[in-house]
């Protein structure tokens, strides 16, 4: 089962540790927030991704197994 890196944008405070530890997949934008390549991680990258997630001071980086498509529900519009 493939794994992907994802950021919790609410928790993220732009410390930038993840980009240091997983530069193959994460770069920082002009404000210091991570831009993550959401494609499945290569097997050798998983270890680095987990290390980056553990190093994040706000635990905002997540390494997740793919969710089943049925659960990947559309995000609703703010107007409700």
């Amino acid at each position: 089962m493939s794994q992907r890196a994802r950021v919790n944008p609410i928790a993220c405070e732009a410390h930038g540790m993840c980009a240091e530890l997983l530069p193959e997949r994460i770069i920082l934008d002009e404000w210091g927030y991570p831009i993550i390549d959401g494609a499945p991680l290569e097997i050798w990258q998983v270890k680095h991704a987990i290390r980056a997630a553990r190093a994040c001071p706000t635990f905002a980086l997540l390494v997740e197994r793919d969710r089943s498509p049925a659960v990947a529900h559309a995000r609703s519009e703010p107007s409700g």
Partner: protein
């Protein structure tokens, strides 16, 4: 086509003459003043077709039947995302714990008045839908969330709930009314759930989605108020009746908030796929020449006036224009207005509506608003348009909710649609129209109770 004048400053106008005999559906029997009482509502629509029945098994079977009927009807959510209603209900019904139904009438969209109009005039139709949805997904509680600025809606809804309690509706789910802050993103599903759980009305990180774990950690069905009104009608008349109107991919009718330089702006009910010109005609025609139309709301897209005559109002027809019906907003801009100045105000407003929880949304929308302002003032650096596009790519799809996506969509759409005007401003600075009063409504300038400004640690 049925009309309901809902400009808040004017009293509600009586029903306009019907152009299509099949309409109005939702707005059928709308009173000229005040709200329809329970007695009047029952006289028009009949009693609630109960999905429950004797015995648990029977009740469960009938509940499944309602979800199946809604699926056959092809009803899509009317809150803006147009997500299939039955799929959402099925996800909640399949959960193990007892569910909760949330009626979403937060209506943070400044250009939309349909949900508050519905609750002001026909509260029982929405409550019927809430009760039916609750029975269908096995919920024992219906929470109606209404915007704090909708005074009349709160009043009529309170009375409607009292009427139902007095009428003694037996085993039906309990009804609660919750007033939510008037903030653009407060109506977002996860923000509502967070607020109902005692938190601020701000979106949360998902998953878990509300249908998995929502209010009180229970599976929660969040439906827009208008969606529930349609459910109340489908339960009574069936899916084939519902499909008599609309397009195959978007059946039925929809409420549209029509504003701009019109004789009778207001909330109208139209068939999906009806032409924009027929809607404008029903509103008594325009009082000025048009420069363009904003479709879908403040997260929507502009369509240039040259193209307006060919516009049909369904998502399928609007897709080639990069637009959608969203929450049913059609806002016409007169030719006197300066679209650049309107975009500057709108971009600033949307940036201000960010709850500043997510960095890319907070900083990205601020930077976008600033760049658009510089272009409008004629003081932008070279390649400002490329800068906007770069900022847009950094901002969209990087928040916990879709607010940055919608805001970016609107700004890019303005730049594209009014390219000539933006180029003119970039060269020569403000035009005469820039000093005119704004045409697009932008209420609650200060971020209200949800206390979101400056909370980034």
């Amino acid at each position: 086509m049925s009309a309901l004048n809902s400009t808040l400053t004017e009293p509600l106008a009586p029903m306009a003459q019907q152009c299509v005999p099949a309409l109005p559906r939702v707005l059928y029997g709308v009173p000229s003043r005040g709200a329809l009482s329970l007695e009047e509502h029952v006289a028009i629509h009949g009693t609630l077709p109960s999905t429950g029945g004797r015995g648990r098994r029977r009740a469960r079977e009938r509940a499944t039947m309602l979800i199946e009927e809604i699926e056959r009807s092809g009803l899509l959510g009317h809150g803006g995302a147009a997500f299939p209603t039955a799929a959402k209900m099925r996800a909640v019904a399949g959960a193990r714990r007892r569910a909760i139904v949330v009626v979403n009438a937060a209506e943070g969209e400044p250009a939309s008045r349909k949900d508050r109009t519905l609750l002001e005039t026909l509260p029982h139709l929405v409550l019927d839908g809430g009760v039916l949805a609750a029975e269908a997904v096995g919920a024992d509680e219906v929470i109606v969330c209404i915007c704090e600025s909708a005074d009349l809606g709160i009043e009529s809804l309170t009375r409607a709930v009292e009427e139902r309690v007095a009428a003694g509706s037996g085993h039906s789910p309990s009804l609660h009314l919750v007033v939510v802050p008037a903030h653009y993103v407060a109506g977002q599903e996860s923000a509502l759930v967070n607020y109902l759980n005692g938190g601020p009305a701000r979106p949360t990180f998902t998953p878990p989605m509300p249908f998995e774990q929502g209010v009180k950690h229970r599976p929660t069905l969040v439906h827009n108020a208008e969606t529930l009104a349609h459910i109340a009608l489908i339960a009574r008349h069936g899916a084939p009746w519902f499909r008599q109107l609309g397009t195959p991919s978007q059946p039925g009718s929809t409420l549209v908030t029509l504003s701009g330089p019109l004789t009778y702006p207001g909330v109208y009910e139209i068939e999906h796929g009806a032409s924009l010109s027929s809607l404008v005609q029903a509103a008594g025609g325009t009082t000025a020449r048009l420069r363009g139309a904003l479709l879908g709301g403040y997260a929507g897209s502009w369509v240039h006036s040259d193209l307006l005559s060919g516009i049909a109002l369904s998502n399928e027809h609007l897709a080639p224009y990069g637009a959608s019906l969203g929450a049913g907003v059609v806002l016409l801009l007169s030719e006197h207005a300066c679209p650049v100045a309107e975009t500057v105000r709108l971009a600033g407003w949307l940036a201000g509506q960010s709850t500043r929880q997510c960095g890319p949304c907070a900083y990205g929308l601020d930077a976008l608003a600033m760049t658009v302002l510089e272009i409008a003032g004629g003081i932008a650096q070279a390649r400002a348009k490329q800068r906007v596009e770069h900022l847009a790519s950094l901002t969209a799809r990087r928040g916990a909710c879709s607010h940055p996506d919608g805001a970016v969509n609107l700004i890019l759409s303005s730049l594209e649609t009014f390219e000539a005007e933006f180029a003119e401003h970039a060269r020569h600075g403000p035009c005469d129209g820039c000093a005119r009063p704004p045409e697009m409504p932008m209420p609650y300038r200060a971020v209200s109770q949800c206390g979101s400004r400056g909370t980034r640690r």
